[in-house]
Symmetry: C2
Subunit: 460 residues, 2 copies
């Protein structure tokens, strides 16, 4: 029997105890955004510190201006070293009356179709996911007395409140965090039984614009026909942002957008993600993006532009014949590849200014801005992880992009120079951030087994 | 000395007494929209009934489901008969602390530039204007014992709360209201010293649209690029409503739009209403309407389209990356000439439907709809009134259109078959509906003299 098989066996044999530990952690109300739970956060951090210390990690709580970071190291000289990231804090639980079971009293339940699930706040996001990795380490230690690779664990306590102290901590602990690759367990699978590796994250530029015309709201009877209406100006700008083929029209927008390798496209095509499957559940049928792209490209590997909010004039009940003085929009761009957020912002502002009449003015407020993240499709770590996941699940994992931002990935790249592989076992229906959060027992069990295999693969 | 001169003399001689009467009426708090002032409304109506009865009118209060209508008749067999309309109710007075003098304690004040003004709620809108006509009748009676024309006065008490009972009353009292022409005194002059006849009112079609895309709000990271954004759809529709020359693009929109007669255009051109004069005070410089039209045409004799409100998605502070499920707009069209409101509504809805993708839906809510009103530029009553005003003010009155709706004018046309001449002596700075409402003493004095002349002219 190989070391790997022994470790897998240990993981299975220890499942009941693993669940006991997970439940102990889930019982701690570590809501980071609510000062009333400050003690709960420290308690969760300390629980992890003790558990990792018991596993042979050099574990400590590291103070920040907010909640502490759990930092635990298990070096393995001569072997590759990985940095694992997760978070012990959880979302608030309101509305409490929508919970079928108290949020901090975890339990196993059985769904109508006979599936076992773990119910409780944090069961999926992110305590359950973190513990899949911890239990994988425990299984390796039980089976072989060591780990296949060196491991540093960084479990923060402020992810649900914006990770505001994390960049500072990374900077400060830079040397201690040196590794060959980073692993994050905070994402979903492609679907039940089908694992996924998230290897790219789209970047984001978020702009707010205010167009001002007259110095006050006007009566459309008195001024209509002569006075500029800023809602017309704004609508024309928004309408001009896309062409008929769904492409974004900002000059230079597609500079730095890479073409997805043919084999990855082929893999995506094989997923059969068609309009019916992707758009049907949300009541739509026709893809709205670039016409010559598959849906999966539109949402993962292509840059986009969306108006996230727009307002001006009278928005109450009934009719009011006003020409508003101002019109507003929040407009964001999802970025990929080497698109430069600053260049896109500049192109956008120039595009808008060109379309604002001389006697109107425009004010820009820049919100978020971040580059896209892409792990090279041919990185050895990615290839090894793919194989490990396929061995566990009997089906090749999907290599996907994510549109949602996970800021730590950018920070790892920027501060530590590390590429990150995002592997998670959550499912889209886990109700994270909502009442009745759950994690499939199978996500937990096979998640731990998956990490057992990934650790082995990365050690080779 | 002619009858007219005697009547003018009587008007001037009675000015002090006229002001005493106006002040008595202004002291009555007849706020129609506030049930607390129900008694004040009836008191104002009754004050008018008594004053008109004292003048020899057959005057009565006519009950409605709301406040009573004052109906007073002074027939003159063989002479033309006019129907005069005004209202005795006034706007609420809040914010009360912004009044420099109590709203229902009228007084004469002198402005910094030495102008005498009458201060008080209703001094301009519409008690002051109504009394210019009443005092003109009194002057004629004093001078000649009769009136040059038959007169019916209809003074309602619900104009400031939507005139909801007026159409019903007109229908009911149709036969009693028979006349050759209608006169309304509720509008402004072109400017100080320059009278105006409002001979056209633009009509209005007001539509609210809701465009629905996905069945719920979406995360733009997850769905951006594939899911239809209803704000994009709506913006494209709004942007398509005008062409580059400022014309409205609805098919058939300009059907029934008359060309303004050359002499009227010439008169308008002579007013020299340029962009600086009209748009400068509101902080604009460039007319936004049809390029080949003067500003005065753009705002008076040409139909227009304005978005009065638009909203969707996230409108709070900061950044939220949502693709909204719905987008909304309130869009209105000002109509002129023979434009058919129903046809414009239909054309608009077809225009929108054509531009809504198959998997989105659109819901329309029709608000107001009214035809434009136009007194023929060559009507004898208009010509006579023009001359009478020129005699009084020493300068030809401006024949203007108004964009604001005065629903009674449409009702007079529809129910009574009457064309209406709108002649008023208010000024744009009268602060109607606001604190410190005023009416220039000169508006009141020369307003009454103007009616003295108009009554004579219409009797010829």
């Amino acid at each position: 029997m190989s070391d790997l098989d022994r470790a897998l066996e240990a993981a299975d044999a220890g499942l009941d105890k693993s669940l006991e530990r997970l439940f102990a952690l889930l019982k701690i109300p570590s809501i980071s955004t609510d000062p009333a739970y400050r003690h709960g956060c420290r308690e969760a951090a300390d629980w992890l510190r003790r558990d990792l210390a018991a596993l042979g990690f050099a574990a400590a709580l590291r103070e920040t201006p907010g909640h502490p970071v759990v930092l635990a190291k298990h070096p393995k000289p001569g072997a590759p070293h990985v940095l694992f990231y997760g978070h012990y804090d959880v979302q608030p639980v309101d509305p409490l009356d929508k919970w079928e079971t108290p949020p901090f009293e975890p339990k196993i339940a059985v769904t109508k179709d006979g599936k076992k699930i773990i119910l409780g706040r944090g069961s999926s996001d992110d305590k359950g996911q973190v513990m899949t990795f911890v239990e994988a380490c425990r299984a390796w230690k039980a089976a072989t007395g060591t780990l296949p690779v060196g491991v540093t664990m960084l479990i923060e306590g402020e992810e649900e409140s914006g990770s505001i102290n994390l960049p500072g901590f990374l900077e400060e602990a830079k040397d201690e965090l040196a590794a060959d690759a980073a692993l994050v367990c905070d994402t979903t699978m492609w679907g039940e039984g089908r694992p996924a590796i998230t290897s790219s994250l789209r970047g984001l530029i978020y702009e707010e614009i205010t167009i001002r015309a007259a110095s006050r709201d006007l009566h459309s009877g008195m001024y209509g026909g002569a006075a500029r209406n800023p809602l017309h100006v704004l609508s024309a700008i928004v309408a001009a942002l896309h062409d008929e083929d769904g492409r974004v029209t900002l000059p230079g927008f597609y500079d730095g957008v890479p073409e997805t390798p043919a084999d990855v496209r082929e893999q995506w095509r094989g997923l059969g993600l068609d309009a019916e499957a992707f758009l049907g559940p949300i009541g739509l049928s026709t893809p709205a993006g670039e016409r010559d792209r598959m849906i999966i490209e539109q949402i993962q590997s292509r840059p986009t532009c969306d108006v996230n909010g727009m307002w001006g004039g009278y928005t109450g009940a009934g009719a009011k014949t006003v020409i508003p003085a101002e019109a507003h929009a929040k407009i964001s761009f999802r970025l990929v590849g080497e698109q430069d957020p600053a260049a896109v912002r500049q192109a956008f502002r120039a595009f808008v200014r060109e379309r604002v009449p001389a006697d109107c003015s425009v004010e820009f407020t820049g919100h978020k801005g971040s580059r896209a993240i892409q792990v090279p499709f041919d990185s050895p770590a990615l290839t090894k992880t793919r194989r490990a996941l396929e061995d566990e699940w009997g089906v090749a994992p999907v290599t996907i992009g994510s549109g949602g931002s996970i800021p730590v990935v950018g920070d790892f790249k920027k501060t530590l120079g590390l590429d990150t592989l995002l592997v998670g076992f959550a499912l889209d229906d886990d109700r994270i951030h909502s009442p009745n959060e759950k994690y499939d027992l199978e996500s937990f069990r096979k998640g731990a087994r998956s990490w057992v295999r990934i650790l082995a693969a990365l050690g080779q």
